[in-house]
Symmetry: D2
Subunit: 266 residues, 4 copies
Amino acid sequence: EMPMVLFGGMNVLESRDLAMQIAEHYVEVTRRLNIPYVFKASFDKANRSSLTSFRGPGLDEGLKILQEIKETFQVPLITDVHEPYQAAPVAEVCDIIQLPAFLSRQTDLVQAMAKTGAVINIKKAQFLAPQEMKHILKKCEEAGNSKLILCERGSSFGYNNLVVDMLGFSIMKEMGYPVMFDATHALQMPGGRSDSADGRRALVAQLSRAGLAQGIAGLFLEAHPDPTQAKCDGPCALPLDKLEPYLAQMKAVDELVKSFPPLITE
Amino acid sequence: EMPMVLFGGMNVLESRDLAMQIAEHYVEVTRRLNIPYVFKASFDKANRSSLTSFRGPGLDEGLKILQEIKETFQVPLITDVHEPYQAAPVAEVCDIIQLPAFLSRQTDLVQAMAKTGAVINIKKAQFLAPQEMKHILKKCEEAGNSKLILCERGSSFGYNNLVVDMLGFSIMKEMGYPVMFDATHALQMPGGRSDSADGRRALVAQLSRAGLAQGIAGLFLEAHPDPTQAKCDGPCALPLDKLEPYLAQMKAVDELVKSFPPLITE
Amino acid sequence: EMPMVLFGGMNVLESRDLAMQIAEHYVEVTRRLNIPYVFKASFDKANRSSLTSFRGPGLDEGLKILQEIKETFQVPLITDVHEPYQAAPVAEVCDIIQLPAFLSRQTDLVQAMAKTGAVINIKKAQFLAPQEMKHILKKCEEAGNSKLILCERGSSFGYNNLVVDMLGFSIMKEMGYPVMFDATHALQMPGGRSDSADGRRALVAQLSRAGLAQGIAGLFLEAHPDPTQAKCDGPCALPLDKLEPYLAQMKAVDELVKSFPPLITE
Amino acid sequence: EMPMVLFGGMNVLESRDLAMQIAEHYVEVTRRLNIPYVFKASFDKANRSSLTSFRGPGLDEGLKILQEIKETFQVPLITDVHEPYQAAPVAEVCDIIQLPAFLSRQTDLVQAMAKTGAVINIKKAQFLAPQEMKHILKKCEEAGNSKLILCERGSSFGYNNLVVDMLGFSIMKEMGYPVMFDATHALQMPGGRSDSADGRRALVAQLSRAGLAQGIAGLFLEAHPDPTQAKCDGPCALPLDKLEPYLAQMKAVDELVKSFPPLITE
């Protein structure tokens, strides 16, 4: 078992300068902690609650910023794709392309992403059981791509709430692909604010530790220098200045759990 | 309050001949029962569990079949749209265009559909609270379209199960738009079969009656001459030869409930 | 299929005079509407959120009030039992004794109630699937009592919310016993107030109609002359002056649904 | 923060000899690992699915066995109480008395238990939100007992399934009392077998690690020399011969997490 990796960054590319600042901090911290690192940011938030919500710089401008980050900091990139036509241009710049949770069953999008040959990070939809992820994996494999990652981000639990079923990690791990944990989005309370989701960032370390205690491939994380001013999902974002102590905890849990000898209790 | 309408037809356009046969039966039955009727069928099933599942004839061939049904039987049409580019051509043929549940928060799709000026049937996603539908309505209104319909189809209830919260109908009715009930898809058990959803068609009348007892605009229904042979969602489909007794029940419940004087119990 | 019966009354016996007043109104209305009627009230609320919440007059005083109601109005009685020792004395006065939802799996209580020979109304716990009710029925049968009734009152749906799965009625009806619907308690929002449950009494007619549309044995209902002043579960109680128009609706739905010829859609 | 404690033992007292054997093994292992230890076993399983299920030796015989274990191994004891009359005799033998989840809102039981002066372990019901546990704590306090422990054991998640909301631990910790994690019962799949609950003992280590990663007071655990032959809840029981490697993992996670400096991310 490999040490944890981090897909970390910001929610949406609010500006080139903020993206550079955030990337720089992630790079410094992950180098100090020796955590393999991939920068994450979205060029478009395609399913905001409101039409007037900030969506981001769009595909062209967004890829330009991502490219600059890649070159400046020599880091691989991950970003999410929302329509089939975006898959190819995104895969030219990004190393990992992400299938959004709500869209994870859209066959045309899966196929377009698979064809790029890029690694695909598959977000598990809030309405899917862990067992059902095998269908999406198979769709990708049949479309010719086996460079796949599964990513947990919580399940619908009544209205306006998500819960992370920790048993799902083990079920997904048996499917033979790396399993990541998006602790940030699992903290969402969908529809919890008048025009957007609420979140529980005060508990990001606690929830992340539970996920890493499952012995998984790594973490997906969003941070912001001032979460109260973030243009999307601030209620779930880690304050950027807490990144280092947060990751130190996560790395320690990951190392400990992966040091355990196998234990069969069946 | 108007009498119930029916958005009824088949899941996917399996063939031109089957579509004509099914449409003919719906038309005859709804004329006998005097139920306003809109024919429904999908040209593409864009989110099947498996890559090899039947998807349908596609946009061009599908619209041709729908057009023939419209002309032959003089009925309005409804079908679902999955990508922004499909909205305009579909709206040229269909009177109502449908926003799929999983896609109901995709802003670009909502905007493209709104721009057509067609009536939009908004399926409530399995992960949304009834209260949250106001955001999608507002998105459509802000995009310039107020010819909107909301359609309940069940909420995620644990894994591989849906439940219909009957209280949600009243919440959505207060938003000022017609509310329909898709009893067919609410019968799904997602991921309940090895490579597709299972369903509970034995209970379609019971569940539909509960919905109509709320005093709603109408029903969304899929039927098939032989549900065991249907190419998609057969486990939820009404056997076509039960359409008339089924609709007779529904119409009777609808008429009774709408005959009640107002009753305020707050 | 028999016409619907009503188990109706008040939540807790707040006082002898209020109980008499409420019983009188139920008796008048149900006689006018020709609905078979059983008076319901609790002598003790054994699981209030708070120690200081009103619990009721207790066993002895409570049974005295119930006895007076029985004699005055010539109506059968139902009340709930919380400990094995209460079963026998309660069954001497009441025709139907009720197994509370939270306690529905407590074997000693089930056995003590079964031994009385009284009819038992089994409330379905919020944590049980409809299929699981067969175990409780079997417990009662094995303890020698087959005069059993099942009563739906909602399922846990995330935190602080209940949902009624309408499909559960059909599953329970196949178990061969009458199935009732407690619409009042299904309206609860557990933990929704600072020290008690909240409720949604504005929707009692809508929810009740959905249940009666399933073709069931009858309704369980609580009402109060002033729900805002009720000592328990006021947020779910029907205003007593709305009893007649409410029951008129329910009876009409019940009669209509039971007039339908059988419809097999399997 | 104190190191984790273990409330560990067996589900039901199947026999005096088996209880002695299991206690001996727990005592040896916890002494080697230096984990504070309390022996747990039930004298009665009061809510089995079936009337013919094994219930245990009963109060008198059960307390005799527990007393012998206490004297032989010099360990404190915990057992569960189901009716008010049992509280006092149980508290004479046991150091901690447990309020069962389904019964956690029964006021008379809570009061009887509080009056004994014993420490009370309050199991969180499957139908309660973590926030609601404050009401039960207050009930105990008002009844004069502040030696209280909260114990998580999973929440209803659809039918026949439980999920552990890891965020609930932090919410309950803020209430000022120790919070334990019953990983064994959280593995249940209620109603999952034809006449009893199923379970997922293969995942007991993974789920337990997630709970301990929250920084909690300790673990509640049931083990059996041959879980397939256990008379109750075998599907959830740890094989007894895996106790030492299992606890070694748990202790390591607990120590690590409690070594972290405070991290505020609000």
